[in-house]
């Protein structure tokens, strides 16, 4: 197995505050890596380094063996697709226009392919403001994969969605078979979908590894200050039930 994304001693400082301290991690090709951690633990900061939203960091980040600091914005955008939790007010454009817009407009067939992969082909020419929250997020997912990236970065992609749409979005992403780095608040979703988990606490990488190795009673108590109970369903699936620490 080859490392697709590699963080090497990555640190980020905001003034006197260390947002990330010496994070080193590897994410394998084709894996879905979940980044979990409490608010302010550095999840979004770590993802922003991949998406180019912040530039100042020390250490090295490589994707496909290429140092991303050396990538031009447009090249990075081709390689790395991004989906975020909250996009704020969106312009009055159609779904197809949303997927296509950018410095260089995308041709219609590429747009249709992207929409097809998220099951939104029928709504291609509908105005964005007429879509439901789940449909809007799928339209943004189509935008994220429009260049057929090898890596998809998701920052809390399911935050404002109901349960059905949360699962729908993550199922879609999983089926794409590409490498995914995904920050999640929902620990049970991370437990269900992740191949690897990175647990962040106060800017440091606390634990990393498989789900059973990282989402444990001890880690949940230490990092999230909650009680975690894992249960196995009749179908054999493992789920995490959280409760207040006594």
């Amino acid at each position: 197995m080859t490392a697709h994304v590699r963080f090497e001693n990555v640190s980020v400082r905001f003034g006197s505050h260390d947002a990330l301290r010496n994070v080193s991690a590897e994410i394998h090709r084709g894996h879905l890596a979940a980044i979990i951690g409490p608010n302010g633990s550095g999840k979004s900061t770590l993802l922003n380094l991949l998406t180019g939203h912040h530039a100042a960091y020390s250490g090295e980040i490589t994707v496909d063996g290429v140092d991303i600091a050396r990538l031009r914005g447009a090249d990075r955008a081709q390689k790395i697709g991004v989906l975020r939790q909250d996009s704020g007010p969106l312009p009055d454009v159609t779904v197809a226009e949303l997927v296509s817009l950018g410095p260089r407009t995308l041709d219609r067939s590429a747009v249709e392919q992207a929409l097809d992969r998220v099951g939104l082909s029928a709504l291609a020419d509908h105005p964005l403001p007429s879509l439901s929250g789940g449909q809007t997020q799928r339209a943004l997912l189509a935008r994220a994969i429009r260049h057929r990236p090898s890596l998809l970065v998701l920052d809390e992609p399911t935050n404002h969605l109901d349960v059905e749409h949360r699962i729908a979005i993550l199922d879609m992403v999983e089926d794409m078979g590409i490498t995914v780095v995904c920050a999640l608040h929902d620990i049970d979703l991370a437990n269900q979908y992740a191949d690897d988990v990175l647990v962040l606490a106060a800017g440091r990488l606390h634990t990393q590894g498989s789900v059973t190795h990282t989402i444990t009673r001890e880690v949940l108590r230490e990092v999230f200050h909650v009680n975690g109970e894992s249960v196995i369903t009749a179908a054999g699936a493992r789920h995490i039930i959280l409760s207040r620490l006594d």
């Binding site: 998406t51 180019g52 939203h53 530039a55 031009r72 914005g73 447009a74 090249d75 990075r76 955008a77 081709q78 790395i80 697709g81 991004v82 975020r84 996009s87 704020g88 007010p89 969106l90 312009p91 009055d92 454009v93 159609t94 197809a96 226009e97 949303l98 817009l101 950018g102 410095p103 260089r104 407009t105 099951g119 029928a122 709504l123 020419d125 509908h126 105005p127 964005l128 403001p129 007429s130 879509l131 439901s132 789940g134 449909q135 799928r138 935008r143 994220a144 970065v153 059905e164 749409h165 729908a168």
Partner: protein, 359 residues
């Protein structure tokens, strides 16, 4: 599979807006024809009314290079035409500046004046009016000073707001409002200290905006600036679309939102500076016209910019026609009519369009 919220029906339209089934080229050419018709009607209206055929003939003669040939020619070419042409250029400039500023600060109620540029032009105008006066050399100096005032204010606002990442939306609007308030105070102070009531009257008239001072020599300066700047914003239409999605989306799509914002702010400052220098702070065009354009042809800037430019030109030509004919021979501030004509149209369109962010 998830089912869509609305019943599906095949749509041929490939954009949003009330005119989504009309090709953009048809929308643009219709507006262009309407603008030409309104231009000829406006040139014909006044104390002496002139029939359209004669106007077209005289303009064609002048365009062909023949010289002045009588009083009617003088009225049309030297008195009325500069005024209408200035309305076209200033209206287009303010509307496109408004479309840019609304994206820059991601705020639908922003207009070109919210970033303090008009206050900078105002301070310069007050200085000229109270010291030199507008009777003599001041009439020529006023627009130049106003443009320099607006451009200098733009530079100060950009420097105040900029960080190493470029310009952010929040800091830009706050810096613009703060610098604008400060300059507004300076303007009031200068005006009160001068104790010159004639000057005060002139300043107020200038602040309300008017096309009365139009002249070919002025248009020769501002028209190239405004036309070239609108062309530049059109070339950046794709970048503007990305800014409208938010900085995070823009960055993820390979753009540099901070730097794009700096460039677009410079362009909006040029447009506003040139427009205000020529005609004072004409209100409303830059606020509402971009919204009307989006309601008609959707939110993609390669359509919003040309349609805004044409609608802004039309609104200002029509408003100026009203300003100088409603209570003729006395003239009213054109700002009254930009609002009186624009608001009902905007409300009508807003209520017709149920698919946009307004719904």
């Amino acid at each position: 599979m998830l089912s869509p919220r609305r019943p599906e029906r095949p749509l041929r339209a490939r954009r949003t807006g009330l005119l989504r089934r009309v090709p953009t080229s048809v929308v643009v050419s219709t507006l262009l024809v309407f603008l030409l018709v309104m231009t000829v009607l406006s040139v014909g209206a006044g104390a002496i009314s002139i029939d359209p055929q004669r106007i077209v003939r005289i303009i064609a003669d002048r365009m062909a290079g023949s010289g002045a040939s009588g009083p009617m020619d003088f009225i049309i070419w030297d008195l009325r035409m500069p005024r209408v042409v200035q309305a076209v250029v200033v209206g287009a400039g303010l509307a496109v500046a408004g479309a840019c500023v609304q994206v820059l600060v991601r705020n639908p109620i922003a207009d070109p004046y919210v970033l303090g540029l008009s206050s900078g032009a105002g301070v310069a105008a007050v200085l000229i009016i109270t010291t030199v006066g507008v009777a003599t050399v001041g009439a020529f100096l006023l627009p130049i000073a106003a443009f320099i005032g607006a451009a200098a204010t733009g530079a100060v606002v950009a420097m105040t707001a900029a960080s190493r990442w470029g310009l952010s939306a929040g800091r830009l609007i706050l810096s613009g409002v703060a610098v604008g308030q400060l300059l507004g105070g300076v303007m009031s102070f200068l005006l009160i200290r001068s104790g010159n009531s004639d000057a005060t009257q002139q300043v107020i008239f200038w602040l309300l905006g008017s096309l009365a001072g139009s002249q070919w020599s002025l248009i020769a300066i501002i028209a190239p600036v405004i036309i070239a700047t609108i062309a530049a914003t059109l070339a950046l239409a794709g970048r503007l679309d990305l800014l409208g999605l938010g900085d995070a989306h823009a960055a993820a799509s390979g753009a540099n939102p901070g730097r794009t914002r700096l460039v677009v702010f410079a362009l909006a400052s040029l447009l506003t500076g040139a427009a205000v220098a020529a005609s004072g702070t004409i209100g409303f065009v830059g606020l509402i016209i971009p919204h009307i354009a989006r309601l008609l042809v959707g939110g993609m800037h390669r359509r919003v910019i040309p349609v805004s430019a044409l609608l802004g030109a039309i609104l200002l030509v029509v408003a100026d026609l009203a300003a100088r004919t409603v209570l003729a021979p006395s003239e009213l501030p054109v700002g009254i009519f930009t609002a009186a004509i624009g608001v009902p149209i905007f409300i009508f369109l807003m209520r017709r369009n149920r698919t946009t962010a307004f719904s």
